[in-house]
């Protein structure tokens, strides 16, 4: 079948056929946002799959205490070898945190965002958290500040947050139903009492919702994080998504529960499972009808430093910072130049993308007017928006969906490398088997190179390896492979058989 690509010269998105804004080949979720919000988040590495390859963020661990218990959290957070929220190896005083932030900003000029995320709840440590923010606003005004919270103390903190020019707050909202809440939060500390069960959950939920409304009223951007817990809140999160969107949250980030037994959380010890890749994706898709969804969160540590997915924290330990002489005035000048350079590069890419967004795969010749099913593909990349990583070197894959609407980014999937073959894993599996499992549901994997052994195993698993698009932009390559699948009739058969079985 001959496939023509129609290049619509449509520069304005208004008036096009895309009322939902989810069509076209958007690389990330920023395309859904209003220009005003885009302006605020364009250089925030956590909000865009694209920006995180260019801009870096850091967290400072100044907030150890917490005022609630979540069943997915273990308060024993002193671990250097894990990468997940709540975990941290070095607690900092506000003074140390300010020093560390300036040292990182001077040495990694791409660092644009400083967050306080724990290891406890930042707003349950108001003095340490706000002193850090107050000093950084004054001493390093070119750094954006953000904070994440469980929401319990949020209404009392909104005034103070607004003072420090914090334009992003993340609230973790796992439920709006106290019955479900009681299965996630066994207790809260509230007005000098420990409040258990549904009563505690109800207070937490009310505070979260009130805090969300107050922040929105102040014009502070709110992102909502939710942990997907199968059998507890999975279905319910669709309602959560609807409600928080309606109240003005600008982004919803549904994350999978992390519940390995060795982390020692209640859920881990009790054997609560996390969601499969497919379950997570289905829920994110179900929520996306109501909400701008965030799909590339790497669930990083409360003391993470660097680009998402990497951690350079070990270069900035307290003793190393002490040995550094930081001239922040000079650093700010360098940083401004670096940021300008990145902005220009991103603008250039945005122009290319705008052209690509107009590329549509027609539904075949008018005579049969076929609609081809969407296909998931995995991509190995080390950044820069191109396919440039060897299959065997990938520690994570980006998952894209190609359909007649174009190419869209779906999620990233980590390759399980920390499986140590203990009891919880059942049979010890090879790294390769882990990679292949991470790619379930994908029909192709695009990488720069791939070895002979994985090639065969991938084919057996129904995933076509493809090394023909090395160094090409991801979206163009994914579309090219999709077109090839259509052209060779691979999508005809399956579409027909699925129709029959439906």
């Amino acid at each position: 079948m001959e496939l023509t690509v129609i290049n619509e010269t449509q520069s304005e998105s208004s008036g096009g056929g895309c009322s939902s804004g989810s069509c076209g080949s958007s690389n990330d979720q920023l395309s859904h946002l209003s220009d005003e919000i885009k302006q605020k988040v364009h250089n925030h590495p956590c909000y865009s799959e694209e920006a995180h390859h260019y801009f870096a963020r850091m967290h400072v661990a100044v907030a150890p205490a917490c005022n609630i218990q979540c069943h997915y959290c273990n308060r024993k957070y002193d671990c250097a070898n894990e990468s997940r929220p709540g975990v941290v190896s070095e607690l900092l005083t506000p003074d140390q945190a300010v020093k560390k932030t300036k040292a990182v900003a001077a040495n990694i000029p791409q660092m644009t965002v400083l967050g306080i995320a724990g290891p406890g709840d930042p707003l349950a440590n108001p003095e340490r958290t706000f002193e850090t923010f107050r000093r950084l606003s004054a001493e390093a005004p070119d750094i954006k500040l953000c904070v994440s919270t469980n929401g319990l103390a949020l209404p009392d903190s909104v005034e103070e947050l607004a003072k420090h020019n914090i334009d992003h707050v993340t609230i973790t909202i796992n439920t709006v139903d106290p019955k479900i809440g009681a299965q996630i939060y066994p207790w809260i500390y509230w007005k000098n009492r420990r409040i258990r069960g549904e009563k505690g959950a109800q207070i937490l939920i009310e505070q979260q919702q009130k805090g969300l409304e107050m922040l929105v009223a102040k014009g502070i951007l709110v992102k909502v994080n939710s942990v997907m817990i199968p059998g507890v809140n999975d279905d319910h999160l669709k309602e959560v998504s609807r409600i928080v969107k309606q109240k003005g949250a600008f982004l919803h980030n549904v994350m999978p529960l992390i519940a390995e037994a060795e982390h020692g959380t209640f859920y881990g010890v009790m054997g609560q499972r996390g969601p499969s890749n497919e379950e997570l994706m289905d829920l994110q898709d179900a929520c996306s009808g109501d909400m701008n969804m965030m799909r590339h969160c790497r669930q990083c540590r409360a003391d993470a430093v660097g680009l998402l997915g990497e951690d350079r924290g070990s270069e900035f330990t307290l003793d190393k910072i002490d040995a550094m002489e930081i001239d922040y005035e000079a650093a700010m000048k360098t940083r401004a130049i670096v940021h300008q350079g990145i902005a220009e590069e991103l603008e250039e890419k945005e122009r290319k993308r705008a052209a690509l967004a107009a590329v549509k795969v027609p539904s075949g010749p008018a005579s049969d007017n076929k609609h081809f099913r969407p296909v998931l593909m995995a991509v190995a990349t080390s950044g820069g928006g191109v396919i440039n990583q060897h299959f065997g070197h990938a520690t994570e894959f980006l998952i894209y969906e190609a359909s007649s609407n174009g190419v869209r980014f779906i999620s990233h999937r980590k390759v399980d490398q920390y499986c140590i073959g203990d009891d919880s894993c059942g049979e010890k599996e090879s790294a390769l088997a882990g990679s292949i499992r991470a790619l379930s549901g994908c029909e192709a994997v695009l990488c720069s190179k791939i070895g002979f052994e994985p090639w065969g195993l991938l084919e057996e698993a129904g995933i076509q390896p493809n090394g023909e698009h090395a160094m090409e932009p991801i979206e163009e390559a994914v579309m090219a492979v999709y077109e090839e699948m259509i052209a060779t009739g691979q999508l005809d058969e399956v579409a027909d058989s699925s129709k029959m079985s439906a």
């Binding site: 218990q69 308060r75 024993k76 066994p186 500390y189 000098n192 009492r193 420990r194 059998g231 009790m270």
Partner: protein, 92 residues
């Protein structure tokens, strides 16, 4: 009369901020309560504050050396129902 912190403490800092008597201090291997300063929150609050926010069971003891947060009191699952709860959770 004073409360005390025992070995199971994970050094999460939560108790330090809520103590009205500034009786809790950082120590190795874990936080300690200064028995001379501790009032068990009498006159300040209905419940001792450190024991009301401590996330670990069996970690804060009363003056008689008894656990204020015994097993099951913080997970919400009494020990005798543990097996049943685990089976339910694993069926999810």
């Amino acid at each position: 009369m004073a409360l005390s912190i025992v070995d199971s403490c994970v050094n999460c800092w939560a108790c330090v901020d809520v103590c009205p008597s500034e009786a809790i201090y950082e120590a190795t291997p874990h936080f300690m309560i200064n028995a001379n300063k501790c009032t068990e929150c009498e006159g300040d609050y209905a419940d001792p504050q450190c024991a009301s926010i401590c996330p670990i069971e069996d970690t804060i003891l009363n003056a008689a050396g008894e656990s204020i947060n015994p097993p099951g009191s913080l997970t919400g699952i009494p020990p005798e129902l543990m097996e049943k709860a685990m089976a339910e959770i694993q069926a999810r």
